[in-house]
Amino acid sequence: MTWIDAVIQGILLGGLYALFACGLSLMFGVMRIINLAHGDLALLATFMVLVISQHLGLSPFAALVIVLPGAAVVGYALQYAMFNPSLRGGELSPLLATFGLSVVIGNMLLEVFSPDTHSLSAGALTTASWHITSQISISALSAVIFGAAVLVLGGLQLLLSYTQLGRAMRATADDARTAELVGINAKRVYAIATAIALATAALAGTFFGMRSSFDPTLGPSQLIFAFEAVVIGGLGSLWGTLVGGILLGVAQTVGAQAFGAEWAIVSGNVLFLLVLAFRSQGIFAAREAHQ
């Protein structure tokens, strides 16, 4: 029974990883940018939620009403101010630009908030849980996070498949220059993609802050989990990213169950390396080969 519990907890944890990862996946899919600042931007949003909820006495969920649109605006502006110009400098420039941004945000958070740990209170959700058997219980917060992850990733997939904006994104991802020639403003499409990516990152960061304590140094580790989820699932496929996040979560919890808690991260990394070694295109590689 403890094994079943480990798998269930892993699936729920995986939902959070997938939520972290979907913005990374979207930005890579649409404009081939690997955003190394993704984890730090998510953490920045977490701290914004913390500040707003403390100063205005709001619950973190209420603070999201301000922080999610704020994150989208920051993403839109960041794309125009920083990422679009960097795309002109070849493949390495965006990587270096986002790496620099990551360092700046990480150190800024450290400067302002000191290395102390903080946490967000999800209120009654934090302690509520369903006891399915004596050994298996599902926390309400984990279930809410997982549900939100499925909704967000499913919603993004529907957006890409069936909306005008989604078709413009796919066309731009396919060939930005040709997209311009059918009337698509590629820079604007990129900015919208980054706006969506940062809003999802802010949501993931907030859930992360409700689930566990956090400090300004955790951005890079969140980036690694998100990156692993994207790679395991296969680049460019959002359903793949969801499955990748879940597999990573299960690998961590089952690894912890088998070998002890300190093996959780290692087990996840081993799965990541196995996928890289034997199926480097990921488990659900996007069918469209990108040139």
Partner: protein
Amino acid sequence: MPSDSQALTARGLSKRFGALRVLDDITLDVVGTSAVGIVGPNGAGKTTLLDLLAGATPADSGSVSLSGRDVSGLGAAARCRLGIGRTHQVPRPFGGMTVFENILVAATMGGRLRGSSANDNSLRALDATGMLELGNRRADTLGLLDRKRLELARALATGPSVLLLDEIAAGLTEPETDELVEHIKQLHAAGLTIIWIEHVVHALLRVAERLICLASGTIIADGGPQAVMNDPAVVDAYLGSAV
């Protein structure tokens, strides 16, 4: 369809790539609803001229206006929305999308249409290029003729007043070329202004009312198709390049 006297005007267009002067001071007036063919040896700057007109490449100097409106400062996307459609010599479909999606995205973004009018316009573009039965195919599974037809349909779906065609007959068999020429003739008859670069001159002459010959980045002949084809300078430019 605009019936203005000047559909598209270029004034003093020049473009260099490094030390190479590709286009030198090109001035061109295209009358509304006319069909203009552009010929010239390889490397004459024909494709670059279309790129400058469409805004895909910025000109070093000179201006472009569409129906009297200066569009020189606008990028490709904005010019497309104002009515310049363009096809590529080597088709560039959005491979991961279906044929219908390729056209629909052009109709909604380039043609600024919504909902059912976007759908209707896309279906008309499919119909005008004989692709109705291929709507649900993924674009990267198409053969060359169908890719060329998709280029044309996608450009049409943006609702152009001026259509720029880049060697649309290149690589096609005779019957395939004939079929495309028929589609283009019908579009021209329906009032579209067409500027068409082509090496397959006999296909071009079935549509073009005016022919321009470009060589080494300048216009060396401009006028009626037969007069231009018989022009000694044109014959010379072609023979010179054939060696």
